[in-house]
Assembly symmetry: C2
Homo-oligomer: 386 residues x 2
Amino acid sequence: MPTDTPLKNEPPQVDAFQPPDRLLMGAGPSPVHEDVLKAMGQTTIGHLDPTMVGMMDELKDMLRYVFQTQNAMTFPVSGPGSLGMEACVNNIIEPGDKVIVAINGVFGTRMAEVAQRAGADVIITEDEWGTAVDPGKVEAALKANPGVKAVGFVHAETSTGALSDATALCRLAKDHGALSIVDTVTSLGGVPVNIDVWGADAVYSGTQKCLSCPPGLSPVTFSDRAVQVTLDRETPVQSWLLDLSLVAIYWHGDEKTGARTYHHTAPVNALMGLHEALRRIVQEGLENVWARHRETSAIIVAGMEEMGFSMLVDADVRLPELLTIKLPDGIDDGAVRGKLINDYGIEISAGLGPFAGKLWRIGVMGEGARPENAERVLSAIKECIG
Amino acid sequence: MPTDTPLKNEPPQVDAFQPPDRLLMGAGPSPVHEDVLKAMGQTTIGHLDPTMVGMMDELKDMLRYVFQTQNAMTFPVSGPGSLGMEACVNNIIEPGDKVIVAINGVFGTRMAEVAQRAGADVIITEDEWGTAVDPGKVEAALKANPGVKAVGFVHAETSTGALSDATALCRLAKDHGALSIVDTVTSLGGVPVNIDVWGADAVYSGTQKCLSCPPGLSPVTFSDRAVQVTLDRETPVQSWLLDLSLVAIYWHGDEKTGARTYHHTAPVNALMGLHEALRRIVQEGLENVWARHRETSAIIVAGMEEMGFSMLVDADVRLPELLTIKLPDGIDDGAVRGKLINDYGIEISAGLGPFAGKLWRIGVMGEGARPENAERVLSAIKECIG
């Protein structure tokens, strides 16, 4: 032992992979700046290297800035946004807890399913896809269901492009003694996200949208109240990896000594990339970044309307970073998107769920949110449908 | 709405992070070849880009080669090895299922905890840390507990450096009508891993050990039997992200049309890195890679023994890629490891659990497994303790 069994599987012949040049103007990932790619491609170091621990502290500070929060428990979960969703839901919810989830698209639906898998008694409010969550329905659900532990909603629905009123929804939760669980995957860095002003409790995001970083990490932030709820649980968190009380020893250190010790092996290179992506936002300034998203988006909206397209979402709740654009009769969804990617190297996204084949999703995210990209998309679409 | 709340958090002043040069000879991450870093730092593309889908198919083929399996359900989970552990345990186990977990170190202990969190009735067998799992104890537990659904064990215990007999343990499970759940985090690419010869059912690994790739992905492979057990479940898998029946649509495609569609946004750049790391192993040939681990490890063992150190693990079950080296009296663990990293840029790892302060873990993994690295470690240790 080791057993010397001869190899049975032949080695496959595979060439090095070279990704094509793409302008990513879909629902994410968004374009990644060269400096972020370079940072991520630096030499790998240990997940407990003293320099790594210093880098992680800077990373947490920058996340607190983009989340606009003082929450101590702020760090990136070692997985995609959907894992961040599970981290928030599974730390807060115990089997049998009542949870309201407001659904107005794919990601609210997903949150309800994650809550069900966590054993929650899930109460759903529904709004038409393409509209914001109606706080009135959430309030009615809170009144009709005393003892609700948490209210979950999606701030920026990536499937529809609608923005919901996080201030109102978090306040409603708080007024009824419930915690709030907020999906900011597509809003963080694209539109104002003000965790402390909202009073939000458990919030997750993704790196591959308006932060303009490759996919694979999910920044989360938990209020002190949410952390306490997690510590006071009667049942263990379903996921060992996501259990806040365990992962804290790596990201925040031992409660007494502050020493940072091993929990899991964090994705060192991905974290170096996120560090640089956040640094770029810090240097530009959040308000300037938001303005750049707004202004670039306006160019695309005007150009698409000029070509005869119309927007799914009303202007007052329309996400600048994710435009859902209705397809007029006679436009072949797949053919045009195929032509855009194959002939122009431009990725835009298809509709999800009931919107499949009926609309396009054009992302105006992070590095994508620059006027020259808007012009490139518009002129390519014009040629494709002309 | 968007609310124009003024920013409350000041932007932190942060310099670009430049990792120091390190020779990673600890328990992982291992050194990453420049070509892998370059591959990972290539431009980000969409997770459903046609070229991405082709790259993913090659990646699955190469994983099948390193796992030595024909299993269709073979892909990298979008998270670290601990998430791969949860993927295997949580897909197989339903609440109330009886599971035997063989513990001979930290990672068997973790698997038992993950199984408990999945609601299993966990039956534990224990072996002294530093020894292999005793198949006799597992057999006795199987006989004493009819109806066990799965037997879980760690092939290569990263905390102790002991290799267990996967062939015997998987056969025992099968003979008693149970599935096997196998941790190959530290064995894959370092010593023979022969999934189909073993008849293993649910197997996970990590990228940051002998595959010499940055941390962040967990290759998994499931036998057809294990996939069927997952499809036949009466309760949903706890984790939405890890549910094989859902993630399959992204990694394997729709059952009827073969079309690959969105499940979650996979970590595109990390996957490009893994593609290149696997390509390097395929080109060198698995048997040559195993030999390189064995030969480099022998240099370190001989050198350390010459300096008066002794090995924790008996030679017949000693992992070449993870050496646990007992500290003689008079050696200051923390001081020497600190000097090694600060003055020599060499990372070795501390003991875990009961071995904290009592031994070192020297990793001989992937690109680390080269004679010149062995010589560098030996000469630095000699100077540090001299």
